[in-house]
Every structure is written in structure tokens, then in C-alpha cells.
């Protein structure tokens, strides 16, 4: 798992690549939470389009960040325009878990209002 964090105005872009499982979920959430608190951004957007593996640990990471961000009055976005065949699998898992009842889908960063 690799995490790339970029700030664009009030938005924190979180690109996670590689394999997201329970093994790396803990590190992932610690690094993201630290960055949210450090930069005091309002909104975050998750880019999971280049994951090569994800299981329910990914749901936990998304919903946990959603809680932190909502608490601080921000919005959590999720990029839905992945091109890999694995990304369909990621979407299937997240839809099944009802994640998009809380987290906003977006087709591009433009939609997140930056």
C-alpha cells in the first residue's frame, strides 16, 4: 500500500495504491488523520482508482475518515472514474456496504468544488 497526499485549497486528495487490507489499514488511518488535523482542510477526496486489492478494511478506513471529516464540518468525496478492471470490484464492495449513503461520489476533482 502506498499513500499520496496532496492539498488543493480546502481539499485533501488521498490517493491510495496497491493493496488495502487490515494489515495496512491502521497505518493508513493514522497517517490520514494526522494530515487532516495538521492541515485543517475542510473536505477530503479518496482516490482508490489504482488499488490492486481491497477488502472490508477499506470500508472501515472510508467510514472512519467520513466520521472525522463530518465532525469538523467537511465533506468526504470518492472518485468513481477508475479505469482498471479491479476498480469495478472495489465499487461492488463499497456499494454493498452502503458507503455512498454517507460519502459523495464524484467523477473528477472539479466536482469537489476546487
Amino acid at each position: 500500500m502506498e499513500l499520496e497526499m496532496k492539498r488543493k485549497g480546502n481539499l485533501l486528495i488521498l490517493k491510495v495504491t496497491g493493496e488495502l487490507d487490515h494489515h495496512c489499514a491502521d497505518e493508513l488511518r493514522r497517517r490520514i488523520d494526522r494530515e487532516i488535523l495538521r492541515t485543517l482542510v475542510k473536505d477530503v477526496v479518496f482516490d482508490f482508482t489504482e488499488l490492486t486489492f481491497m477488502d472490508s478494511a477499506g470500508i472501515g478506513v472510508l467510514m472512519g475518515r467520513y466520521r472525522t471529516v463530518s465532525h469538523l464540518g467537511g465533506t468526504t468525496w470518492f472518485l468513481t472514474e477508475g479505469k482498471t478492471s479491479y476498480f469495478k470490484h472495489v465499487m461492488k464492495i463499497l456499494e454493498m456496504a452502503g458507503v455512498f449513503n454517507y460519502i459523495h461520489k464524484c467523477k473528477s476533482l472539479k466536482e469537489c468544488g476546487v
Binding site: 487490515h22 477488502d55 472490508s56 470500508i59 472501515g60 479491479y86 470490484h89 464492495i93 456496504a97
Partner: protein, 148 residues
């Protein structure tokens, strides 16, 4: 109709989270001998990952001195993966299998593990006894192979 078992593998490894990815590699390498689709392999990897993670987090509460046993059995057009721990066990399996039910929300567990295992496999059996352990049996049919 009974089918011949074409290949199998019995593996024992310690309950360390590094071994979640190892378990996925083992199951998918064995499944690959049948040449299923990438999507079918992805389903299997996810289901196996959930089962192994559950042994580590719930069964053994992250005590990595304990062992997990995984058995992969390959048939003509399907695989059966059994993942077993000798940990704390589950008091009410029916309740545990419900979507969103989790005993570990502090660790951001979503309670979707069993639901994912179920929807990404063709059969899911869970046997468990308190203080004895839990055994999960995942059967994944590779419908793309069009046999049987």
C-alpha cells in the same frame, strides 16, 4: 454427482497480519491452475482475506503466537478454501453473519466481512464453538469454465 479433487494444499501459518496477503496469494495461485477469470480470482481473494483477517482480529485478538490453518481444495470447476482458527469462537453465528454486525467497532471494523464472503462465493459454511475456534468454508465456483 461427486467430483474428483484435482489438487489440494494444507497450510499453517502464524496469525500475523502480513500473512493476510500470503493467504490470498496461496488461494489464488491454486485457483489459477483452473484458469478462471480475473474477476472470479478477485472475488476469491477478497473472501479469503476476510476469513483470515477475522481469525487474526477476532479469533486470536491479534496474538501472533497462534496459528491459522488454511486448506485449498481444487475440483473440476470450483475451489473450496477452509480457514480455521482455535481462538475464542462465536457464540451466535447467525447474529455474527448479519450485515453490519461487529463486536469491534473501535477498530473500525465494518461488520461486512461475512456478508462479503457470502456474496463473493457460492457457498459459505461457518462452524464455531466458544473457546474452541472457528472454521469457515468458502466454495467458489468458476462459472466461466462452463463445466459441470
Amino acid at each position: 454427482m461427486t467430483m474428483d479433487r484435482k489438487n489440494y494444499m494444507r497450510v499453517v501459518f502464524p496469525a500475523k497480519s502480513e500473512n493476510e496477503s500470503l493467504a490470498r496469494i496461496l488461494a489464488s495461485s491454486m485457483a489459477a491452475q483452473l484458469d478462471p477469470t480475473l474477476e472470479e480470482i478477485s472475488d476469491l481473494r477478497t473472501a479469503v482475506s476476510e476469513a483470515v483477517t477475522n481469525c487474526i482480529i477476532h479469533g486470536y485478538k491479534e496474538d501472533s503466537s497462534k496459528e491459522i490453518e488454511m486448506i485449498c481444495e481444487l475440483y473440476d470447476n470450483y475451489i473450496v478454501v477452509t480457514v480455521a482458527d482455535q481462538g475464542c469462537g462465536i457464540a451466535d453465528v447467525q447474529l455474527a453473519r448479519k450485515p453490519l454486525y461487529t463486536t469491534d467497532p473501535e477498530n473500525e471494523r465494518s461488520g461486512m466481512g461475512f456478508t462479503i464472503m457470502e456474496s463473493f462465493s457460492d457457498e459459505l459454511d461457518v462452524e464455531s464453538a466458544v473457546n474452541k475456534g472457528t472454521k469457515v468454508r468458502i466454495k467458489k465456483i468458476f462459472h466461466s469454465l462452463g463445466k459441470g
